[in-house]
């Protein structure tokens, strides 16, 4: 898309900071992992039965989790895309909540609601992964479903298609790309899941991600950890390439229909079925969170607020809370600024399209690998920054950057250049045009992106496990440490901290849902 900023030199300068950041903190560390891990003797690790078992378990639990998450997500997407019902916004937000919860909180929640004999089982891991991903997958599919013009369904019906035929011959092919994308992302998240596996899997149920941590931090086998990290990056990258190629030929309608698909519930049967689906999904989303809050006020089988009092009086914990929020403010500022620069570079000049691909890297490369990469890259002079406190918010910025980019970029790209041209002919300079047109339109998306990056930073556990130093631990690391120690009161403190994370995440969901849809975009499709 050519814009009035196409020839502006300032656009070239905009791209420098994010490109430098991604190369310095993602590309260089990952290349370092690959170069360092490709040693002949360390390759033997891949032949050991223990590692083969880890790879196999990681793969099959991810496949099963993805299949089950999509099985739950599809009927939910059908309901939210096709019907209007009471408290729809609230229920949709509640159903989306698990995805925004820190992974360690999800692990902690299932630790609380599942009976002891289910702890450290594949079932617990899979259930937690389904919980974490079903709302997100449903939202992704539902968004695509809403784009299918309802008159297409009508046309198929007048041509003789029964509801089932309509679904198989029209809806499913049109949804296939969204389903494939959702499956790819859910599989990747399950494959690289760390917090859930650390809490629920324990040493007996290890995945590649936890094995990388275990080798590097517990066994001191950094080269083995790097090899596994490289293996994980290769598997995920291959999966992305294959899925993207397979779905690139599939049709994707990009325009929004002028009329909505969503109809009010009409028949009694519809009301029963839809109410059942929505209330089951909402209960599934809420119950684990309530269980965490319940445990935080229940120590040694009696109700007490002692855990909460300790959380706000123990200097070690209060320091952790302060550090976590400080890091999240830094990560929020950095990620939003860099994401904005990336989105502007991509939208205003075709030669910067590659930045869009670069910002995908933190999805392909897991948080644990990012942490490991940073730790092995920045440990020698003149870049010996391992102990530097800024490394943690920098890592969090990397993890949040793809999300920020994906929130701001579509809004920016949807702005018709004719608006900027109109501003120019009315006498505005490019800078004034940007401030009065582009910025005013994207600022709501930028607020959403900032809220998301703060949430990501506060709950980030993978990279933090590597980078957090004793005395400067973030909340997820602190929760993990409290859970690993015996004693019900320490457990309750962990649950109180998890509740704190939930409360923060819920507040952020509210911000995101209030600002996610840009007013301009909404109005232009009214």
């Amino acid at each position: 898309m050519a814009t009035i900023y196409h020839r502006s030199r300032a656009v070239n300068w905009l791209a420098i900071a994010p490109i430098f950041f991604i190369f310095a903190f993602i590309v260089a560390p990952v290349l370092n992992i690959f170069v360092s891990s490709l040693q002949f003797e360390s390759l033997n690790l891949l032949r050991t039965e223990a590692i083969r078992n880890v790879v196999w378990f990681t793969t099959w639990q991810s496949l099963v989790s993805t299949a089950l998450a999509l099985t739950v997500a599809l009927p939910l997407a059908f309901v939210t895309a096709n019907f209007k019902f009471k408290a729809q916004r609230l229920t949709t937000s509640l159903i989306s909540m698990p995805f925004i919860l820190p992974s360690i909180v999800v692990g902690v929640a299932f630790l609380q609601i599942l009976p002891n004999n289910f702890h450290r089982t594949a079932f617990a891991l899979i259930l937690a992964h389904v919980y974490f991903n079903f709302g997100f997958a449903s939202r992704l599919i539902s968004a695509r479903w809403l784009q299918i013009h309802p008159h297409l369904d009508d046309a198929a019906r007048t041509l003789g298609a029964s509801p089932l035929k309509l679904f198989t011959t029209l809806t499913l092919p049109l949804l296939s790309k969204a389903i494939a994308n959702a499956a790819l992302i859910v599989f990747t998240l399950c494959f690289t899941s760390y917090g859930v596996v650390r809490v629920l899997g324990g040493p007996s149920r290890s995945t590649l991600e936890t094995e990388i941590y275990f080798r590097a931090m517990q066994l001191g086998d950094v080269s083995g950890a790097m090899l596994l990290s490289a293996l994980q990056v290769v598997i995920i990258a291959l999966l992305f390439v294959v899925t993207t190629k397979a779905s690139s030929k599939k049709f994707e309608q990009s325009t929004r229909p002028t009329i909505t698909r969503q109809i009010p519930l009409q028949t009694g049967r519809q009301k029963i079925v839809i109410t059942t689906i929505i209330s089951s999904a909402t209960a599934f989303a809420i119950v684990p969170v309530l269980a965490i809050a319940f445990k935080s006020i229940n120590t040694d089988s009696r109700f007490t607020t002692s855990a909460w009092r300790t959380v706000f009086t123990n200097p070690e914990i209060t320091q952790s809370i302060a550090k976590t929020f400080t890091y999240s403010v830094i990560a929020m500022g950095l990620a939003t600024l860099l994401g904005l620069l990336c989105a502007c570079s991509v939208a205003y000049n075709n030669k910067f399209h590659f930045i869009s691909g670069l910002t995908t890297l933190p999805i392909v490369i897991s948080a644990v690998s990012i942490g490991l990469g940073i730790i092995i890259t920045f440990d020698t002079q003149p870049f010996d920054w391992r102990g530097a406190q800024l490394m943690l918010p920098l890592a969090h910025t990397l993890v949040a950057l793809p999300l920020v980019m994906r929130i701001i970029s579509p809004v920016l790209q949807a702005i018709p250049d004719s608006l900027r041209q109109a501003s120019s002919v009315l006498g505005a300079s490019p800078r004034q045009t940007w401030l009065n047109i582009d910025f005013k339109i994207i600022r709501r998306a930028a607020i959403s992106a900032a809220a998301i990056s703060a949430t990501v930073s506060i709950g980030e556990f993978g990279a933090s496990s590597f980078l957090a130093r004793r005395g400067a631990e973030t909340l997820p690391v602190m929760i993990s440490r409290l859970l690993s120690r015996p004693g019900d009161s320490l457990q309750s403190q962990a649950f109180a901290l998890a509740t704190l994370l939930v409360m923060f995440s819920l507040a952020m969901i509210f911000v995101v849902d209030s600002f996610a849809k840009d007013k301009f975009i909404r109005d232009s499709h009214a």
Partner: protein, 210 residues
């Protein structure tokens, strides 16, 4: 023969139209005009089974189809915005209804070619529908509806948005095609000149309400 008997449509306790009656003879082409918002499109959607009526009945050749689902009515409809299936080629779009009915591939291919020749677009058989011109898309939409050999064909402002030249040509071609095939047609339009040029009878929706 299509018979609409005292049909009323009520939305959220407000009445769109009431006691509307209309009879269309076999192979007759009827044009229906009326102001915007009077319920012309809604009437077509009710006949097609895409929306429910509040009272009254709809019959085709004496058979009551009031409560029959849309896919069992065998009523063709051409939408104002065509609604060609974007994931299918031109040929696959036209063959859609035959595929649904599990007609053999050989007969389907033969019929698709036949109907594409009728609308003069044989060369577009394997093309994707995304980049068709307005006129081409309209002809494909008509061909897709006709191949199912519907008992009644409903046209919802099919020529809206086309330029004057194309509008005139398409009107003429469509008229010839539907008369040659002896199709029973209910054509909704706000353009009275188009209605007069196309139909055996021109009716105003407001006249049909008793």
């Amino acid at each position: 023969m299509l018979e609409i008997d005292k049909v009323s449509v009520i939305y959220d306790s407000s009445q769109l139209f009431a006691n509307l009656s209309l009879t269309i003879q076999h192979q007759e082409i009827v044009a229906l005009t009326g102001p915007s918002g009077s319920g012309k499109t809604t009437l077509l959607r009710c006949i097609a089974g895409l929306e429910s009526i509040s009272t009254g009945s709809i019959r085709i050749n004496g058979q009551d189809i009031t409560n029959q689902p849309a896919h069992l009515r065998n009523i063709g409809m051409v939408f104002q915005d065509n609604q060609l299936f974007p994931h299918l080629t031109v040929g696959q779009n036209i063959a859609y209804s035959l595929k649904i009915k599990r007609v053999s591939k050989k007969i389907t291919d033969q019929k698709v070619r036949e109907v594409l020749s009728l609308v003069g677009l044989m060369h577009l058989l394997d093309r994707t529908v995304i980049n068709l011109s307005g006129g081409e898309a309209k002809r494909i939409a008509v061909a897709r509806a006709l191949i199912a050999e519907p008992q009644v064909l409903l046209l919802d402002e099919p020529l809206t948005g086309l330029d004057i030249d194309l509008h005139g040509r398409l009107l003429e071609d469509l008229n010839k095609l539907l008369r040659t095939r002896g199709t029973t047609v209910l054509h909704v339009t706000h353009d009275k000149a188009e209605a007069s040029a196309f139909a055996d009878r021109v009716l105003d929706l407001r006249q049909l309400i008793s």
